[in-house]
Amino acid sequence: MTSDNTGNNRNKNKNTTTKWFSNVTLIRESQIMKIHYITAVGALFVVAIHIMMRLIMPFNMSLEFENVILNYKNVFYALLLESILILIAIHGFNGLRVILLEIRQTQIWERGVNILVIVAMIGIIAYGTRTIIIANGFSLG
């Protein structure tokens, strides 16, 4: 009887924790993983196009300064580079988050990792977008 009561209490505590946690969580893990898989497939596709574009001329020529700038000046190619940046940043930083979550299991660590990863991801995307915009010829002041 005593053990049953203890078991029930344990379950009650667990349910309360789960409820509280589900209220706090903004997005379910399955949704995050859906985004993770979609970005992986998307990144594979756009990176394949990017590599193929490197092969339409001799590889060393394609990396010359003028050619690189010309690529940025083409709006469609700039959009392709932007999509590579976004897809890989989301996929990569979520992968890093998954690895870091396994190291420790405390609430503080989990929140810290989530915030750090989101901030780093936004930072990288913003910095990369800035580079693309500047190389495209627009002035940011």
């Binding site: 789960t18 589900s22 969580t25 379910r28 893990e29 399955s30 989990e110």
Partner: protein
């Protein structure tokens, strides 16, 4: 015949361990049994070590038989948990020669070695010697609500109760997962459990699938909520070691993948996978028959 056996036992009992280690009677060979020793409950500072025993074995001797022999005639303080001796209760799980196995289901002759090393199951806290604490394991098991929950079942009038009809196809979806004996071997072999204590483990996840796939169950969303967390089902690395060590032929890794497909909204894939699994089992059986 029985009298002869009894006499033989008496002879062995009267010998000292040293005398016994040199004995090799006809039909009986000796193996070295290395048993992990620790008393973590009584003495938290106890240093783990291995004790060695020479044990007589026959072709059909299991590791559990050998351990019980050592416990009966050489050192009664060896801590082992066991019950049914027929791979039904799942009590005697331990790491035997580096692999999590059931001691009652592992024949020494199958191990092809004269040295048998018995250690407690990894990923479980020690209690004493080969006995480990399953509290966390059962907590995870409980958390996935391992029971059929159906709102329609709450019928106050007993006369109105009818049985739930279930087709053989519906049963096939989860049948293999219901063979789980909760021995904890899959949990101990899981590399994710080794690093993430909040991860439910292959046993709990495959049981979540077992009840989710059950056509009688109507509380799928609650169960999915429990496993769809940051330390839930998505942390499985798909190493497959859980399926490799299962003594009952359950494939927890398959259960986890089917559960994932449910969460991704690809629930039709479970039928395809079940068919593939069924086909591979049939072709294996046909191959065996030839």
């Amino acid at each position: 015949m029985n009298i002869f056996k009894k006499d033989k036992r008496k002879e062995i009992k009267n010998e000292t361990p040293l005398e016994r280690s040199n004995t090799s009677t006809s039909g009986q060979s000796l193996v070295k049994l290395r048993v992990f020793r620790i008393n973590a409950v009584q003495n938290p500072n106890d240093v783990p070590h291995f004790d060695e025993f020479q044990v007589p074995v026959k072709r059909w001797t299991t590791v559990l038989d050998a351990l019980l022999d050592a416990k009966s005639y050489q050192d009664s303080s060896i801590g082992i948990r066991y019950s049914c001796r027929m791979a039904s209760c799942g009590s005697c799980g331990m790491k035997i020669n580096g692999i999590p196995r059931l001691a009652c289901y592992t024949k020494i002759s199958d191990l092809d070695t004269n040295t048998i090393t018995c250690e407690p199951l990894p990923n479980f806290p020690y209690i004493r010697d080969l006995v480990t604490d399953f509290s966390q394991f059962f907590d995870h098991h409980r958390s996935v609500m391992p029971f059929v929950k159906n709102k329609k079942a709450d019928i106050p009038n007993v006369n109105e109760l009818t049985e739930y009809e279930q087709t053989p196809q519906d049963l096939d979806k989860f049948l293999q997962f219901s063979y789980c004996i909760k021995c904890g071997l899959c949990y101990s072999a899981c590399p994710t459990v080794a690093t993430d204590l909040k991860f439910p483990g292959p046993q709990a996840l495959s049981q979540a699938y077992r009840y989710l796939a059950d056509s009688r169950d109507s509380d799928k969303s609650k169960r999915l909520k429990v496993i769809d967390t940051s330390h839930g089902i998505w942390r499985c690395h798909f190493a497959g070691s859980c399926s490799h060590v299962c003594p009952k032929g359950v494939d927890p890794a398959l259960g986890i993948q089917l559960l994932r497909s449910h969460l991704l909204g690809l629930s039709n894939s479970e039928k395809k996978l079940a068919k593939l699994h069924d086909r591979s089992t049939n072709s294996y059986r046909e191959g065996e028959g030839e």
